[in-house]
């Protein structure tokens, strides 16, 4: 049993921020959400959140939060709390059994983490919440580099940019995540279509892709 005070209560030991629902969709407890805007309400920063990538297929390098043990009602503007998970927090996941040190992440169109996606490291053993959903302790570790594939149908010439699909999954059997990003080819090689490469964010928010295949 956890007593309610600043020292001993797990909930009290986390850094919670105030969030509000950006759409009229119920956000269940322990959901991964994406920040879409911020406002200042009652002199406090409030983050508007929604389901990850629900509105677009854009890949997000960060801006994810994990909501607390409360649900956020299905009303635009309904409020709750969420955390960046720099200190481990319980997050919902979709399927399978998370193992320690695996990396799971937000997936297009769902509130749950999915295996092989990016950003959150598994730091504990999974359990079941009172509502019957699967939750596991995770910690935000960020995204340094992602596997991408040029599926534009045309090569991305050197010193040019083009859209690449983000691929996730088991090494050698990766699949299209449904998310994409625009990569700048700073190599001296033309990036042929259907070829894999790596993409990372450098120079502020610019994304550079490096073809791994020719």
């Amino acid at each position: 049993m956890s007593p309610a005070d600043l020292l001993r209560s797990p909930f009290m030991r986390r850094d919670w921020v105030r969030v509000k629902n950006g759409v009229a969709t119920l956000i269940p407890p322990h959901s991964v959400v994406l920040i879409t805007a911020t406002t200042v309400t009652n002199n406090e920063v409030v983050y508007t959140v929604r389901q990850p990538n629900a509105a677009s297929t854009d890949f997000n390098w960060n801006g994810y939060l994990i909501t607390g043990p409360f649900s956020i009602p299905a009303t635009v503007g309904a409020e709750g709390v969420a955390t960046e998970a720099s200190v481990p927090a319980l997050a919902r996941y979709d399927t399978g059994t998370p193992a320690l040190k695996e990396v799971w992440g937000p997936k297009h169109g769902q509130f749950t983490l999915s295996k092989g996606y990016h950003g959150f490291e598994i730091v504990g053993t999974n359990t079941t919440s009172p509502s019957g959903t699967n939750v596991v302790p995770v910690r935000w570790i960020g995204v340094e580099e992602v596997l991408v594939k040029n599926e534009t149908g045309s090569p991305i010439a050197a010193a040019n940019s083009g859209s690449c699909n983000v691929y996730v999954g088991t090494a050698g059997s990766e699949t299209d995540s449904g998310m994409d990003l625009t990569c700048y080819n700073r190599s001296s090689t033309s990036w042929a279509t259907g070829k894999f490469g790596g993409a990372s964010r450098l120079n502020g928010s610019s994304v550079y892709g490096v073809p791994w295949q020719t």
Binding site: M1, P29, P69, F70, P73, V81, P130
Partner: protein
Amino acid sequence: MTTQASVSFTGISNIRQVRFPFSRGVLPSQGVIYCPPVDGLDAGGTLTFSFGGNSFSFQDCAISSCHLVRHYDGLHPIWMVCFKDRRWRWKQKTVSGDWNRRLSDGTVDPATQLTPAGLAQQILTALGEGSYDTSQMPTGVYPRCLWQDERADIALQRLCDYVGCEVVLNPRTNAVEIWPLGSGSTTSTGAGELVPKYRHVPRVNVPSQVRVVCGPSVYQSQLQLTATARNYSNGQERKLADWEGMPSGGITTESPISFPNISSNNLRAIAFEEYLRLFHVTAQKGGGLAVPNCPTAITSTEQYVLSDTLLETYTDGWGFKKNLPCYVEGDFWAYSDIATNVSNQRYTGEFKTLLDRRSVQFPFPMLKLSSSGAYGEPTLYLVTSYKVKDANGQFSGLTREGAVSGSGGTLVLKRPEIFSIYSNSTSPGAQTNTEAQATAEADQYVSIFQQKYSRTTASEITYPGLLSGSLDGNICQITWEYSVNHLARTMVCEGDELDVSALSSQERRRNLGSEGQL
């Protein structure tokens, strides 16, 4: 031939006349010696009466004043020397002690327990008395005594009054005796008395009933807590569902951390202070207002007079018993990682009791979460001890009564140190009902005072000569008179001090009262 009587007093010669009314109590009795005046009189010591070959003495007497009484012809003045018996020394003595402290369950703390006899012995030792008899003092009662440099004689009188006794100085043994009032011998008749025994019944002094009024009973049970908040418009406290600031979505959807749907600054301020943080006692656990084992009709929780401690105690590292604090228990979300509510658990965080408001306030919102994470009001109970008042503001407590043969109404004896407790605690060793013990002690006081008034008659009788005798619980005054010109006599009073030439017991008590002590 008339048997010769004589009187002597250390340091005084040519005694012409002596009158000594001798009474019970802690104050010294005062007598008068008439003798020729002598310059520089500094007498004191033993007063001795002798008659018919027998004698009895009063040791360690002292002079209190001397007054010249002039003869009608202005010649041959006589000295009226006033003296007091050895109880004059008692005024200077003090006593300290802390006895018969009551624990929160009404029982006497064994570390401080003393019977009335034991208490009297403490005082008599402080008075410097080495020989005394307290064996007849009542048992089964434990008067609360907290003496802090108290005048010992007044402490003794107060104790005796409380337990229906009186202090007697026995001239035969020079010892102090404490007698229960109403007990003792009666004056004999048919012994050649000068004035026969005339009895009367002073009805004004005899009640028809004795009533012992104990202290308020103390109850302990689980008290249901309901979330409330104040209306800003009229300052009235309301259940949360009826609160004027409650958003239309109700408790389930309003975040108790940020209140996004409460726009009024005043209501937001109240929300941050009270919404799911302020809980009011509204009933007993399970519903209803009736207090288990309490005969008082309860129509409102305003009749509960809450304390913030339990009846249970613990013994600290220095051997002192301290009351445990009250606590909250129930079903609530304990600020854990998961939306799981504890069930029937003790809340171990901070909270504040607002006793006059019969409320509890928490520093964080107390809530329950549904399995889907929606907010809800928790089920909470305050476990604490409390007293109960009736509709007239009278505390509920034990009273015990007994009939006395008089017609002077009810004598009310307040014994606030006696009280009963009623608790549904399941803590190991906790008392749950002390009514039997409290009733027994109160009944003992009834018996004590029934005995005090068991003899309703008062009387006086006068015998020839200076007769040795002692006071007791019935015989309350003996007056010895000696004169060179008249027959010596002994007047004995039962039931009341009837010697009009002496200060009455009521006046002596008024004197003590004027000293601010009794």
